[in-house]
Subunit: 412 residues, 2 copies
């Protein structure tokens, strides 16, 4: 449900009413791949403002197994998280397996990256697994492709299949109270994006995902794809979720283009590497100068890390490779994202987004942000180097690259 | 200050009044080597009942540096822990360096295990570092030896030197409000233990440590050494602290022999390996059967882990090598230790220790405890395999063994 529409852009604010609570949008979902947002417990997630988290169907299907989770009363009970959960469909992870995977009209047959055992994921199977896991939102099974490295023909083929699988996913879905989102694909080709969005829009999904982005495309290619998709969704009040996007500057631009929901491992992953996201840029806490700084990571942040600890203490913990370092900085980066999205929501709701945009862009680490100091970088340039390609074209990438993508996901 | 003396044993209850609070004894101190108890934050430590923690002088001297900690207002401020802290003297870590260390009457010259830089620790330097770190309790610099692998002559020589260093530590100590504990050595030779205890007792320390134990000695050798020490301390009301002992069954036996205070990395280290200490024994959460158990780790435990999460969830987290696993089980094991010591204190104070001893021994995992299940072991046998030798005789051990001991400490 849309509660406010910005007049200067396509940005909108809304409410997503789910079994375990209401999610105010736009918002960012922390990723809890293995039914845990790495190093954090549910209380910390609530305290930092997480309204909803994402869990990975592929990982939980393989370990500990969806039936086991179901026996324990579902994901919420299993991980003791009583706010909303979204599960992805497993499509991305399966397709990323590359040579370990064979795809046809029925579905994707793959060999587990954990023990080599063989599995078949079909739209029906993905929905069955997600119904057993019991999130508030399930997602239709799709066939993503790497946007930049794929031909239009390959993108169209995967898109058409994704459309057929969308119908099968809808038919297979029967869990009362569980929302089902469909995925619009189409690579970076605006015509295909529009065609896919138009088709997925015609189906009775509860929300519409923008798939196949946040991968190897440029920001310009991504923006073009978003614009084509959102134009085709004009007037549609369902939530729009761009999978895999994770930096404040990227999220702000996507919100302005009409996207409502995001997820990414990025804020947590870079935190474990010592990178703090602060108002207007970022800091690398492995940098020696932070060892002598008594101020918090971000004086403007209200997270439990910034309210208690100095940069010096965190810098020390990172040098000593202490587990607490990863936890404290993950709390901060996720709070930073949550607070930033809260700012954006407030600006949309109060009709001041246009006026606040320069400030919000600067806070996100937008162009023109001064460098924060030696070794630190403003957040202006989206952090591509820190991410593994999120989508791999089936059977087209070299083995090493595919393995890396899978290993990277598995770590999350 | 002693508040209760058990009539059936040498066990006693007391209060240790310190600048940052009162410590009820007997008690166990969690170890925060690098100014952090691995994976836990101060609130969790308080919630699990930690009255006092230990931090390592050697590690903090090298990284981040005691002067840096001092500039930040001392350890309490640096790590945001407002209850008491004890620092060790660095003697053990320095002597464990073996070939990287040369010891003479002045002190111990050693090469940092971090970067190879050369350093000299003397009694005066150790006290200076501890005064800068600012714990509630500092400890005199000593020369420990490996009890089992040393000749009486070597033990006597190190003991005599420890006595001279005790006097130098006392003379060097000037920080108001900071207690200073002395270390009685003497290996496993009862005469030397008695001689050392008698000498250290004669000095104006605020507490008396039993050094050179919790290493490679047998429980019988340790008990003999404790008995000889405590006999020589008869009537002395100062707190007695046995450094390095860490399992419930070991602690109970030492308390019965008149020891008041303990520290060890053991409960936290085995937790990170998946081993849970429960009433009457222990569980290995890496064991497959726990994946299907809905009950908490220990139904009798009131820790935040047992109040929220199932064994199944923890077993899953351990298999997925999730950081949250280490944290949740560390909370449990430390709470288990804290609650157990609380039980022992209560029994001493109420004069029911003798009557409760069979139950307490069974709870600690005493002899006769039934096996808990396939792959799990009762805690009856002190966990020697899980520990690296805690003391290494200077220049007598092979390099690999010494390196292992140091590496092991560094990990903590």
């Amino acid at each position: 449900m849309i509660t406010a529409q910005d007049k200067s852009s396509r940005a909108r604010a809304g409410e997503l009413r789910l079994g375990h609570g209401v999610v105010q949008t736009p918002d960012f979902m922390p990723v809890g791949t293995n039914a845990t947002v790495k190093s954090l417990d549910p209380e910390e997630l609530k305290a930092l403002g997480a309204q909803i988290i994402l869990a990975n169907t592929y990982h939980l299907y393989l370990r500990p197994g969806h039936e086991r989770v179901q026996r324990f009363g579902g994901l919420h009970e299993f991980m003791q998280w009583d706010r909303p959960i979204l599960t992805d469909s497993g499509g991305f992870q399966v397709v990323s397996l590359g040579p370990l995977m064979r795809i046809n009209e029925e579905g994707a047959k793959f060999s587990s990256h954990l023990d080599g055992s063989m599995h078949l994921f079909t739209p029906e199977r993905s929905i069955e697994v997600q119904q057993a896991l019991g999130p508030d939102i399930a997602v239709a099974f799709d066939q993503p492709v790497m946007p930049e490295g794929s031909t239009d023909r390959e993108v169209r083929r995967a898109m058409d299949r994704t459309h057929r699988w969308a119908v099968r996913s809808l038919r297979a879905h029967s869990r009362p109270g569980q929302a089902l989102f469909g995925i619009a694909q189409g690579g970076i080709n605006p015509e295909l994006r529009a065609e896919s969005a138009t088709y997925i829009r015609s189906l009775p999904f509860d929300g519409i995902n923008l798939g196949g982005l946040a991968g190897d495309e440029t920001p310009e290619q991504r923006n073009t794809a978003i614009d084509a998709t959102v134009t085709a969704l004009e007037g549609d009040l369902r939530v729009r979720y761009l999978m895999g996007l994770g930096s404040p500057v990227d999220l702000l631009e996507a919100v302005l283009r009409g996207v409502d929901l995001f997820d990414s491992v990025l804020p947590a992953r870079v935190a474990r590497n010592g990178q703090a996201w602060v108002t207007g840029g970022r800091l690398n806490l492995r940098n020696a100068r932070h060892l002598d700084e008594q101020e918090p990571v971000d004086a403007q942040c209200d997270c439990s890390t910034c309210r208690r600890f100095s940069r010096a203490y965190l810098a020390h913990l990172f040098r000593a490779e202490e587990l607490l370092a990863y936890r404290l900085l993950t709390i901060h980066n996720l709070r930073h994202m949550s607070a930033f999205m809260g700012e954006v929501r407030r600006a949309i709701a109060s009709g001041t987004l246009a006026a606040e945009l320069p400030r919000l862009r600067a806070a996100a680490g937008g162009p023109g942000t001064p460098r924060l100091g030696a070794g630190d970088e403003p957040g202006a340039v989206p952090e591509r180097g820190a991410m593994q390609p999120r989508y791999a074209a089936a059977g087209r990438l070299r083995g090493a690259q595919q393995k890396r993508a899978v290993a990277s996901e598995d770590k999350e």
